[in-house]
């Protein structure tokens, strides 16, 4: 026994501040979130059916869920081990409706519903932070929330089924819980933050550096104010679920793919894709292994919500010294953490050119700006009403200018790929062009041919071929990547597959399993494969018959 052990009898009824943490959030937040959901669903309908836009990465997640339930070998592992699995898992119940509503898969509707739900959840989380943690006036909270919810990129991603908006919901959920914990000591909210963070890992790998930075934020916030054991304990409770999630993910990669880091270094991984040079742009090339260049590349995307620059500078002042404010620390560290993976990847030359990687600047910018206003509010509250109304109007205009700035920024060539074009055509009510914003472009002939030959057993790597696979009538005529026997048939197809569907080996299609296994097949230089048909288009598919001489 230690020399002096103090027995602590918690006796006091909790103070008012902790009651704040347990009171119900106002219904207004739920209403705004509900309306946002409707807006995102309507936007999804508009984007899909009017301008024929589809986000490839979003629909491919739906495809993964589709394979889990309807492929030749239905199994959960079919969800894939490269991209984070949670979007597909959340889409499973909706994808199950495919026999009755094929569009949930063929049009990616399942993804739209999930992104709209989580987009609206993010709106709610933001409202909650503004109201509880920043303690802004109700009217301003409502105005800021609506402006955020209607930001062009937020609407686009709330509607397109991408995981980015889902991750933003997780970021905001994490902030909300963590700020409640730091402000009121509510353990329940700390646990909530931890689970939001873990859910974030299910959406995006960026959650790891984001969580790491927030652990530092916890330490810095509690440093000198609480015992070391409290902040280490809080950090463990906060980090445990995401560490567990990452551990499980690595375990499954090892168990099923026989490589614990399969998601990181497999042939389909982000690193492998960028290594093909398919996503290299002059801007990324300039940042490649150039610390300042990499930093500037990332910081430039702050223009997606331009007020983040002054707001960040303001908040930095409150991260140290006697002005230290946990809210500033969490928001500043979180903002940095959310972009840390991108910064690393762009430095290594392994980042894609997508603008969505930096979308977190929008909610983070909104929150940092709101924090600045919350800090200045006591000073302003002593001023005459007329000035206060004027200032409130200016504040709203400032937030609005951020949203306008989002659109303007996406129209810049370096920053707006690929969404600048989508937003522009969306506002102009014109159909999108090219395969980047419509992965189904040019696949109709392949689909029609497969449908016309239902008895043909076609092997296809869904890494590239998923748009074809999800639109054919009979999925089971395809031997797909997640099937247990895919690799076996790929190398020994005789008598087991009728044909191989091969995309032209350029860009990331070089990573297609057939192109890696039989690099000369597309050119027609594999002797046991005979060309059945070519399908000109962006992917330039060719269908090869497997001859009896095949291995």
């Amino acid at each position: 026994m230690s020399a002096a052990t103090v027995l602590h009898y918690p006796d006091e009824v909790k103070t008012q501040s902790s009651l704040v943490a347990t009171s119900k959030p106002k219904r207004t937040g739920l209403w705004i979130a509900g309306i946002s959901f409707v807006v995102y669903i309507l936007a999804a309908a508009y984007l899909t059916f009017v301008i024929h836009y589809a986000a490839g990465d979003a629909v491919s997640r739906v495809a993964n869920a589709y394979y889990v339930l309807f492929s030749r070998d239905p199994h959960l592992g079919a969800v894939g081990f490269v991209w984070n699995p949670l979007p597909s898992i959340l889409e499973l119940p909706i994808v199950a409706l495919h026999p009755w509503i094929p569009a949930v898969v063929t049009r990616g509707l399942a993804g739209f519903v999930v992104s709209a739900v989580l987009g609206a959840t993010g709106v709610y989380n933001l409202y909650r932070i503004l109201e509880r943690n920043l303690d802004l006036p109700q009217s301003l909270v409502v105005a800021i929330t609506i402006i955020y919810a209607l930001n062009p990129l937020i609407i686009l991603y709330g509607a397109n089924g991408m995981s980015d908006i889902m991750w933003i919901a997780c970021i905001l959920g994490t902030y909300s819980g963590l700020l409640d914990f730091l402000q009121t000591g509510s353990l329940r909210r700390l646990v909530s933050a931890a689970f939001w963070l873990a859910a974030g890992f299910g959406m995006r790998y960026e959650s790891i550096p984001f969580g790491f930075m927030l652990i530092l934020a916890i330490a810095l916030s509690l440093w000198g104010r609480e015992s070391i054991s409290k902040w280490t304990g809080a950090a463990i409770i906060f980090a445990a679920p995401i560490v567990f999630s990452a551990g499980v993910w690595i375990y499954f990669n090892w168990l099923i793919m026989k490589n614990p880091l399969y998601f990181l270094d497999s042939a389909y991984s982000n690193l492998a894709q960028t290594a093909t040079g398919a996503y290299m742009t002059p801007a990324i090339a300039a940042a490649d292994h150039h610390p300042l260049g990499a930093l500037l590349y990332v910081v430039r995307f702050g223009l997606l919500f331009w007020p983040i620059y002054p707001a960040m500078a303001f908040a930095l002042w409150f991260c140290w010294g006697k002005h230290r404010d946990p809210r500033a620390i969490v928001l500043v560290f979180g903002t940095i953490g959310a972009e840390l993976l991108e910064l690393t990847l762009v430095y290594k030359g392994s980042l894609g050119e997508w603008d969505r990687y930096f979308m977190e600047f929008i909610p983070n910018g909104v929150l940092l700006l709101a924090f600045a206003i919350a800090k200045l509010r006591p000073t302003v509250s002593r001023w005459p009403s007329a000035i206060k109304v004027t200032l409130a109007t200016l504040v709203v205009l400032l937030f609005l200018s951020g949203s306008v700035g989002t659109y303007v920024a996406t129209q810049r060539p370096v920053m707006g790929h690929p969404d600048g074009a989508v937003l522009k055509t969306a506002f102009a009510r014109e159909p999108v062009t090219g395969s980047v914003n419509n992965p189904f472009y040019g696949i109709n002939d392949v689909v029609a041919y497969a449908n016309a030959h239902p008895h043909m057993k076609i092997l296809a790597d869904t890494f590239i071929d998923w748009p074809v696979v999800i639109r054919v009538k009979h999925l089971n005529q395809f031997i797909i990547t997640s099937d247990y026997d895919f690799n076996s048939i790929l190398y020994n197809p005789r008598g087991r597959a009728s044909a191989f569907l091969v995309p032209e080996p350029s860009g990331v299609a070089q990573l297609d399993a057939i192109n890696r296994a039989w690099p000369k097949m597309w050119e027609g230089k594999v002797p046991w494969a005979q060309l059945i048909k070519s399908f000109p288009g962006p992917t330039n598919y060719r269908l090869y018959k497997i001859l009896p001489s095949a291995p």
Binding site: M1, L7, H75, G233, I236, P241, F244
Partner: protein
């Protein structure tokens, strides 16, 4: 003639002067002890003299028709029978009883001073009496300034009522005296602090501690339909006499009360005949299924267990969510506790069963002395086994404060803690009762908080559970894990169950009860080795509620592996035993607990042991699969079940470890969080204990695996004088 005059004329005459009748000894008409039913001032002012208790009436002599004020005064005492006497008789008798008019009656304090009470102590006692009420004699004995015999002698000097030392001069047993004992219940004798000592042809003589207290004599004279006289004696004398009289009966009741009242709830037999048949049928069906189709049978059984396990994981997740709320337990502000008026506080009984725990008595005494509760209203019973000579000797040497009473429990089977508690409960005087283990250090304000909880709730609240934690947390890894586990139990699980109005398996100590309710439902089951959990379920079945309050009792965490396994296996065995007992009539149980309560019972009582019994099986299967790829194993897990099993293995383990970390944090033990994350190692120990429990349930169901306390060094442990925190310092 008016009605009053007629009644007065019909009032019988009595002489108050002692007289001789024939060869009989001197007949004394006036019983001194009855005369003090009213104060000497009132008696003189209203010209009256109570001279006897007879057939439920206070017999009062007056020379003139009693005034309205006199009637009102005596109405407050109870029924009165008026007698006429002469003025001279009345005056002479009053002088005989109360002394001369000019005499100033000596106050209690002055007489106590003559017996050695210091002026400072007297001033302190008077101040205390002013603040918290109570009798000066009780306060003086509670604070060890006087013995109970001193008090009896002082009262005798004040009133002239003779004393009788029952410790030295125990009345001879006789059939007549036994009949008198039977006129009142044991509880009544204890409540009135009164025992019969002699029986005459038309008079019963009782010994009592308080001559000014009248209900006992009124009641006895009423049921005996005769006169009741009183002599004075000490509190200890009364207890000794009651013990002599009721010991055998107490023992029988402590073993059979529940069996008598609710035989179906008693664990005297582990399995009923129908349960045995059901078990046999299940085994036969399983064997038949295995013969018929081994793979399908194994797969079904395995799937069932996986589903149960998944349900338990979900249940634990629900606990995390619900348990982290701060509103799901009763909390009282310091001001609320301080605003309680001490003078309104009832007697509170504390039962402390102890065996082989001589070394912790000092700390126990210190902890009880620090309780913020008037000591004269504490009724502490230290329950010691008769053959535990060492502890008994230590307790006697320790000169315990008078509010602590050593109660010797006869050494008869079953040798269990609940039997000792039942024995103590028979003697409890308190309106409320709680139990502490001998090594417990309760928060000083705990009794008052419990009282507040009862007062602020309706009568359906029968029990308030305080939280338990440990004071030797940092002793070793085992105590850290143990503390984290306790934190989950008392900070997450029980508050969650309380908030959801589900049955609460009570913790081993610091549960506070309404004494009457506890007696009515049969008290503790002496044959159940987790009598606390069982009692929680029985309370719920009887329509009562249990609440969890934010007050702590600190205990000694088990710091030795073998001792820990013994304790844990007893707990797990008790849970299985409790489950089997209450599942004798599942439909009836469902009706009593409701659907939610029924399933809550299954998850809390069966779920806890079953998880730890299943764990090693699944660990074995998983290890076998990785080591041998044995073909049978995939057959055990159909596709969906395989995923669920995998989720159980991974997410389940995480959820339980995380639960421990959150529980420790909620309890303020942030330093335990890193260790809590390592608790999967602790579960291997839990599984070991669970299998031991399962085997012992079949071989020795009621065997009590004693937990040895005092494994930490108790000598330097002292409770500091701080209001809401005890500091243990070396």
């Amino acid at each position: 003639m008016s009605e009053i005059s007629q009644r007065w004329d019909a009032t019988p005459w009595i002489t108050l002067i002692s007289y001789v009748s024939g060869s009989k000894p001197l007949i004394e008409t006036v019983d001194r002890s009855a005369a003090f039913a009213v104060s000497r001032e009132d008696a003189r002012t209203h010209g009256l003299l109570p001279f006897a208790w007879d057939s439920g009436n206070l017999c009062v002599a007056v020379a003139e028709p009693p005034s309205l004020q006199a009637r009102l005064l005596l109405d407050r005492i109870g029924p009165v029978k008026w007698y006429r006497t002469t003025a001279i008789d009345l005056v002479l008798a009053q002088r005989e009883i109360y002394g001369d008019l000019s005499d100033r009656p000596a106050p209690f304090g002055e007489l106590a001073r003559q017996r050695g009470l210091s002026q400072e102590a007297l001033d302190e006692l008077l101040r205390m009496q002013q603040n918290q009420g109570g009798l000066l004699g009780s306060l003086a004995t509670a604070h060890q300034h006087l013995t109970s015999w001193d008090v009896a002698e002082i009262l005798s000097a004040q009133t002239g009522i003779p004393t009788q030392n029952l410790l030295q001069d125990s009345p001879a047993a006789s059939p007549e005296l036994l009949n008198v004992w039977h006129l009142l219940t044991e509880k009544e004798w204890r409540d009135y602090e009164m025992v019969p000592v002699a029986v005459g042809p038309d008079t019963i003589t009782v010994a009592l501690t308080n001559p000014f207290d009248t209900p006992g004599r009124r009641k006895l004279s009423l049921v005996a339909k005769t006169r009741v006289k009183a002599v004075l004696t000490g509190h200890r004398d009364i207890l000794a006499r009651l013990d002599q009289q009721y010991r055998a009966n107490n023992l029988v009741l402590s073993r059979t009360l529940l069996l008598h009242r609710r035989p179906d709830d008693s664990a005297t037999q582990t399995l009923t005949k129908s349960q045995k048949w059901a078990g046999v049928a299940l085994v036969v069906a399983l064997i038949a299924a295995l013969i018929f189709d081994r793979d399908v049978a194994l797969s079904v059984v395995s799937s069932l267990f996986v589903l149960i396990y998944a349900l338990l994981v979900v249940h634990r997740l629900w606990i995390i969510r619900k348990g982290t709320l701060t509103t799901n337990e009763l909390r009282f502000a310091r001001e609320e506790v301080e605003n309680l008026s001490d003078s309104d506080l009832p007697i509170y009984t504390i039962l402390i069963p102890a065996r082989d725990e001589a070394n912790v008595l000092n700390v126990l005494t210190e902890a009880l002395s620090r309780l913020d509760y008037p000591k004269d209203r504490l009724d502490v019973k230290l329950l010691l086994e008769e053959d535990d000579v060492e502890t008994i000797a230590a307790a006697r040497r320790a000169k315990l404060p008078s509010f602590m009473e050593i109660t010797i429990v006869p050494p008869e089977e079953p040798r269990t803690k609940p039997k000792a508690l039942n024995f103590g409960l028979q003697r409890a005087r308190g309106e409320f009762v709680t139990i502490y283990d001998a090594e417990d250090i309760p928060e000083p304000s705990q009794l008052k908080k419990a009282l507040l909880a009862f007062r602020q709730s309706d009568d359906t609240l029968a029990c308030v559970q305080a939280k338990l934690s440990y004071f030797n947390i940092e002793q070793n890894l085992l105590t850290r894990w143990f503390t984290a586990e306790y934190s989950v139990w008392f900070n997450l699980l029980l508050p969650s169950l309380h908030a959801a109005s589900l049955p609460i398996p009570l913790g081993g100590t610091s549960n506070h009860f309404r004494t009457e309710v506890l007696r009515n439902i049969g008290a503790w089951d002496p044959y159940n080795v987790t009598e606390d959990a069982d009692l929680g379920i029985r309370l719920n079945k009887s329509g009562y509620r249990t609440a969890v309050m934010d007050s702590y009792t600190y205990e000694e965490a088990n710091s030795e592996f073998v001792n820990w396994v013994r304790q844990r296996s007893r707990w797990i065995k008790g849970y299985l035993q409790t489950w089997l007992v209450h599942m004798r009539h599942p439909v009836q149980l469902h009706r009593q607990l409701g659907a939610r309560g029924f399933w809550g019972f299954q998850l809390a009582i069966l779920g806890t042991p079953i998880m730890f019994i299943l764990n090693p099986l699944y660990w074995l299967i998983t290890s076998l699969w990785f080591m041998t790829n044995w073909g049978l194993i995939p057959h055990l897990f159909p596709p969906g079940i395989y995923y669920l099993g995998m989720l159980n293995l991974l997410a389940g383990n995480f959820v339980f470890a995380y639960l421990n970390a959150v529980g420790a944090a909620k309890d303020g033990h942030w330093s335990l969080v890193p260790y809590a994350i390592l608790t999967p190692l602790y579960w291997t120990m839990m599984s070991l204990a669970s299998w031991k429990a399962l085997l012992q349930l079949m071989t020795r169901p009621s065997h009590w695996e004693k937990t040895h306390h005092g494994l930490t060094d108790w000598n330097p442990v002292t409770a500091a004088d701080h209001r809401e925190s005890a500091e243990i310092s070396a």
